[in-house]
Symmetry: C3
Subunit: 349 residues, 3 copies
């Protein structure tokens, strides 16, 4: 049985104002503008999609204060931030959140010295928790996840299925690690002696601060010594690589398939688009943004956006990508000059 | 004991015609042209390797109808498609296929509400199948794989070891998911309010249609709402990222380490080489091919091949990669013009 | 209780000479120059960090023979290779190595036909070892790892948690495979017939020789037939892709997020920076180095460094990255020439 909600109740739920439409009209679902059916509510979060408000079948739309179009027959609900407000509707209509069910599944293998309150932590089937691990209340270790020797997790962490937290890693509160990610694996360090690559011991740790989320199949290497450090509130996508001794500030956003080489330091609120590569031992300042596929080869202290390889400030970097397209025209103009100059020289003979 | 097969029987097996060679000659193995030993059969699938037919030790070679070289002493078998035909020889000499052995391993953890015929589904050691999962006949869930709450798998699916299928994912028939891939993990969506990145609930699903194969360590995020959708017959390689609400058409080929950002839509038979990056919210038309390492920044409706960053039609894109190499010559010609013009101007004074 | 060591004993431990400082001074820890506190020893391995020797709080520093700076108050220990020598101090102060504890955890699932000495091999919780697997003495299969049908591992191998070694893979001695990597998964091969991508059987294997280390979430596909081959002493980072029938020589270094397409052959001591992409069916010579983000499209037989896309010899490749920046200046000079030529032509009328 699908729940329904009236336009007015929906406006109240999302903290908005019903600009037009029947307060008692019924909404029975959520969807994007493109895919919505009659009776559903949608939202205009990205101005790029404004034309869809004219064609959508959605019955109600959440719009920002600057939205002025006339949409006869639609219920319009004005909110400060449609994307965020829509999340309330999503929660209302979406699948129920999975309940937190404390307790240790009988197939989990938990070392005797592991310290956590079995009435306040959820450990799924086949999870493995090694000696001296500490886990805070409210945390969930899902099926098949591995928590290595001496690792410490704060409160309300979620370690998803088949994720691996290696020995001595330190996680703060409300840290989420998605499936098949590996936190605290050896850094990639060798010294080559007589043609043999000798492994350099990696005795440091990974420290991940509060409210960090790490996607699936992402790898964060532990430090050679000291720590690889992910600052509070940083969000990391899938398939990202952080090398040993990397540090990020607070609130960074690192998009999928980006790689950051060893010992590079990011400031606060650094943003990396997808597939960015950053060389090792660099310093990146606060609020620096690298667009997707950038290759970062130098210290970049100044806030702002950068693009290209090697990465340059946005306008310059974009021009660098376009300059080659001017070569044919320049070639033609040079040919023309050569021809005209030769003719002129001939006249003068 | 290695099996053997006569040249004539081999020709029959692969559906070809024995052009030359002793029909009763014996073949005892398969190999590439470069590595074949006497008594083995090989094939010429890629014309690049034609010179190897002169030097290979293979006793028999599968060739296409347009192959006209003289190869004295070799058995030549003409087939319509040597690569495909060779697969029959591979099956004959290769390792036996692993038998499908229905039944649930005693160490697997299967929720009481999971619906499948235990006599027609194979569940390996330490696999975990949560509540309300539905699995079609003939499917195999290998060791350590995880099938989350309410996921639905069709018939004859194969979920390899340690792969993770998250809650509510929907897979069609004959879908193969390789090891350590994560299907249906949260999309990467946040709204930043007062310097905090607030998580946007990702309540949609991943839907994967019939005959899709997904490589190892690949991540496909579930939709914010609605679905991330992989069309029938699409083949996805290792370490690929599909963002939330991405959709692909039928028969797409997505090569390793490619990333497709959220809400981008691919048509049918789209091909992506390795390490391609595609921005979000784009529309890519049917039969569009992006060469390896392309960066796709715009809607690309027209069929054809594209390359470079930003991606352009193939010929133009290749030129863009080469234009910078003409800068030194253009510089010399400009210097020359400047010198000649100055001389000419002097004469006129 | 932290261990301490005297300057002189430390010099002896690392095989160096105490150039200055109190032989009886006490050292109680290790750290980087930037993070060291009083009482700790650090090292100058990368000349880039030489200025830090002036500001570090470290009490003792390992330096190379060419280090001549005056550092009053510091204990200086001269060693041939500070990075390598420091590893001895790291071992002294670092966490204890995890003991090798032979035996099979009761939750592991080991096939009856698997051949290894249960008194000389360590098998962790929930590990799965299939039929006909062979494992050499001194090897460790960590929690949740999977060793497929007929795989053969040499002596002293380490397979980390949740790694997957697929059927028939062959590993030499002292091979290390980190977590969530997948060795021996199907190659990505299809033939398209009437719009359907038919899977080409991948019946070959992966062979990994002695002393190879493979990072986390890395995928190495098995060969179509024959073998995908990683040569002895090669080191592979996280999130790397090696396609089917790739072969590497001895002592190669392949950095994170690099992908090598099918059938490409690397010589010995090939180095690939991060995010390099290599096309298929290429031959790369001994001691070739590709810098990060290179795109390799051609055979590259000659030793040396290469960069860019398409990859070119280092100096030429770097110039290619810079040439576009000269386009604005060339444009101005052409405009200037056009103007002057027009003026000159006018004078002559």
């Amino acid at each position: 049985m699908t729940p329904t909600i009236s336009h007015q109740a929906l406006a109240d739920l999302v903290g908005g104002q019903l600009l037009q439409g029947d307060p008692n009209g019924a909404i029975s679902g959520i969807n994007s503008l493109a895919e919505a059916q009659e009776g559903e509510v949608s939202f205009l979060g990205n101005p790029k999609y404004a034309p869809l408000t004219q064609t959508t079948k959605a019955t109600a739309i959440l719009v920002a204060p600057d939205f002025k179009d006339d949409l006869p027959g639609k219920a319009l609900i004005q909110v400060a931030n449609p994307t965020l407000a829509f999340d309330q509707a999503v929660k209302y209509f979406g699948p129920p959140e999975r309940p937190f069910v404390p307790g240790v599944h009988p197939t989990a293998v938990v070392a005797g010295s592991a310290q956590f309150d079995r009435n306040k932590v959820q450990v799924g089937p086949h999870a493995v928790i090694e000696e001296d691990v500490v886990i805070g209340d409210g945390s969930t270790i899902h099926a098949g996840a591995f928590i290595g020797l001496g690792a410490r997790l704060g409160q309300s962490c979620i370690i998803h299925s088949n994720a691996v937290i290696k020995e001595r890693s330190v996680l703060g509160n409300r840290v989420v690690i998605h499936s098949c990610s590996v936190i605290g694996t050896d850094g990639f360090g060798y010294q080559t002696v007589d043609g043999r690559h000798l492994k350099i011991d990696q005795v440091g740790i990974v420290q991940i601060d509060d409210d960090v989320e790490v996607g699936s199949c992402t790898t964060i290497d532990r430090a050679r010594f000291g720590k690889t450090h992910v600052g509070a509130g940083t969000k990391i996508d899938n398939l990202v690589q952080l090398g040993h001794n990397v540090s990020t500030g607070r609130g960074c956003i690192i998009v999928s398939q980006t790689g950051i080489s060893g010992s590079t330091q990011l400031g606060d609120y650094v943003v990396m688009g997808g597939q960015v590569g950053v060389a090792g031992h660099l310093k990146i300042g606060n609020q620096v943004t690298f667009l997707a596929k950038s290759g970062v080869t130098k210290d970049t202290p100044a806030a702002g956006a950068y693009t290209g390889y090697p990465a340059r400030p946005l306008i310059e970097g974009r021009r660098m990508l376009m300059y080659p397209s001017r070569v044919p025209e320049l070639t033609r103009r040079i040919q023309d000059l050569e021809k005209k100059l030769a003719e002129l020289a001939e006249k003068l003979v």
